[in-house]
């Protein structure tokens, strides 16, 4: 099994879920297809979905919900 890391295309604040009361987009152990949304980054009051750029199984999140992230920062690790 190889691993793949999804990174942030923009600086901002990372969220696991589309809104505070909603379920997370994905949880550890979930399988995702390429193009699936795995999180959200808020930058300057706009929200940008983080898409999986490979298919695989979510092995772990590398940032917590509401963590500040920088451009290019590792967000989610997949097993491909």
């Amino acid at each position: 099994m190889a691993s793949h890391t999804i990174t942030s295309r923009t600086p901002g604040v990372f969220y696991h879920r589309p809104s505070p009361d909603a379920d997370p987009y994905v949880t550890e152990g979930a399988s995702v297809s390429e193009g699936d949304t795995v999180g959200l980054v808020e930058v300057m009051k706009t929200f940008h979905e983080v898409k999986a750029d490979a298919a695989g199984t979510v092995s772990r999140f590398l940032v917590e919900n509401e963590d500040e992230v920088t451009i290019g920062q590792d967000l989610v690790e997949l097993e491909t």
Partner: protein, 463 residues
């Protein structure tokens, strides 16, 4: 607290404020700090991790740390802001715009803490923040609202309602919002089909088939009136601002006075704004927003705070609106009467946002490596951004406002072109180039633009 000439120290509500917590960041925090300093008020800034060395912090008398960089952990955290106000021992809290400025619960908490909220009473913020309540209040103050019906029970009810408000109409879902569940109809026949569709759609989308009918405006102008009200019952207007150049309901360029506005409409707008301000028991600086189409105008909402675009009103009236807010909060009467507020010349504001207009206005935080600000006659720049500063990704993209003034609108346009040509920001894309192009557009030059103009123009350019 500082003592004034041989008298008692100032107390809130009687003789002026001694100290103010500035509960904001960026250019508006700096604007409030500056007004405080000119009035001899101690200004206490607040800041997040990202803003530890920001200009509003450096220029304040004191500063209190709020929390982490995310807005929810700092400037939007009412408890942290209130704690900062208590620890700094201030008399009042100025909320600026955005963040906590229009949250009734925050204003109420400030009041309950025995401090002065620089703005209207929390109950007024709550009323004006409720669309239906604000609309009802406007009606009772004899201020026109966009003609519309109550919920309609049947197709024929809808047709009768449409006859009354006038075609073309929009059928809207009562439970809808954000533009969803809206359908146009130009004739009664069209309406009969549309109502059935709208009820079906509303039922599945919102769980309620309640719909109502509203007049469809065809490219109205957004014109707003600045008002001031003190605690002694004085209410004045400070004339209007034209703010139709908008993208996704965000204003980008504003001017005062509104070009091409018929004198009777202008008078009607300003008087209506004063009536509404009185009716709701308003205190402080506020803005009453209208849509104007032909000779008709309709109230849309009231912003219960200082506005981003207040400098253009300051240019044409000579007033200092933030100083007026602070004086009013300290219990003073307005410094001017209605007769003394004269609109002179023309002013235009250009919002400089850290966004890339060539990439669908993608937010562009980052470091400003070089900066040259415009200057000279009739030029004002409100900004907290200095060369070497970074624009953090956590807050609004507005980084500066350029506002020019000249004796005539034509001269103000020329001055705007000149100042925009001088303005240079290196390191990140901004909206400065967009403004340069807009000032060559015929609809902008002749002042005939409406709320649809900017978006159509952008759509055409991207094709």
């Amino acid at each position: 607290m500082r003592a004034r000439s041989g008298a008692e120290p100032p107390r809130p509500g009687s003789g002026g404020l001694g100290s103010v917590l500035v509960a904001n960041r960026g250019e508006i925090a700096l604007r409030v700090v500056r007004a405080c300093r000119e009035l001899g008020i101690r200004a206490v800034a607040v800041y997040s991790d990202a803003d530890a060395s920001a200009a509003h912090v450096r220029m304040a008398d004191e500063a209190v740390h709020l929390g982490k960089s995310a807005a929810s952990k700092s400037y939007l955290n009412g408890d942290a802001v209130l704690k900062a106000a208590r620890s700094a021992g201030v008399d009042a809290v100025h909320p600026g715009y955005g963040f906590l400025s229009e949250r009734p619960a925050f204003a109420a908490a400030v009041e309950e803490a025995g401090l002065t909220f620089v703005g209207p009473p929390s109950s007024v913020i709550a009323t004006m923040g409720d669309k239906a309540a604000a609309r009802a209040l406007a009606r009772s103050a004899d201020v026109p609202v966009v003609p519309g019906s109550d919920e309609v029970a049947s197709v024929e009810d809808a047709v009768a309602a449409a006859e009354e408000v006038g075609y073309p109409v929009l059928v809207k879902a009562s439970a809808g919002g954000g533009g969803r569940g809206i359908r146009p109809a130009a004739t009664a026949d069209e309406l009969r089909t549309v109502v059935v569709e709208a009820q079906r759609e509303a039922s599945s989308a919102f769980g309620s088939d309640a719909v109502y009918v509203e007049r469809a405006l065809q490219g109205p102008k957004h014109v707003e009136v600045q008002v001031l009200a003190d605690t002694h019952g004085n209410v004045v207007h400070c004339w209007e601002r034209e703010c139709s150049l908008q993208r996704r309901r965000q204003k980008i360029l504003e001017e005062a006075p509104a070009p091409g506005l018929a004198p009777a409409v202008r008078e009607g707008l300003c008087e209506a704004a004063v009536r509404l301000t009185r009716e709701v028991g308003y205190v402080g600086a506020g803005t009453v927003e209208f849509l104007v189409e032909g000779d008709e105008f309709f109230f849309i909402e009231m912003n219960t705070r200082i506005q981003v675009e207040h400098p253009i009103t300051e240019w044409v009236t000579g007033l200092d609106l933030v100083a007026e807010q602070l004086r009013i909060a300290g219990g003073a009467e307005l410094s001017v009467s209605q007769d003394e507020i004269v609109c002179r010349g023309a002013s235009i504001e250009f919002r400089v946002n850290a966004e890339d207009p060539d990439q669908d206005f993608l937010p562009s935080p980052g470091e400003v490596t070089g900066l040259e600000l415009p200057g000279g006659p009739g030029v004002r720049v409100d900004t907290a951004l200095m060369a070497g500063d970074a624009v953090p990704p956590f807050y609004d993209s507005l980084v500066a406002k350029l506002a020019v003034w000249a004796p005539t609108r034509e001269q103000a346009l020329a001055r705007g072109r000149r100042a925009l040509a001088e303005y240079r920001v290196d390191g990140l894309p901004t909206t400065i180039g967009l403004h340069r192009r807009l000032l060559d557009e015929p609809a902008v030059v002749d002042g005939t633009y409406d709320i649809t103009t900017l978006e159509s123009w952008l759509a055409e350019r991207s094709r």
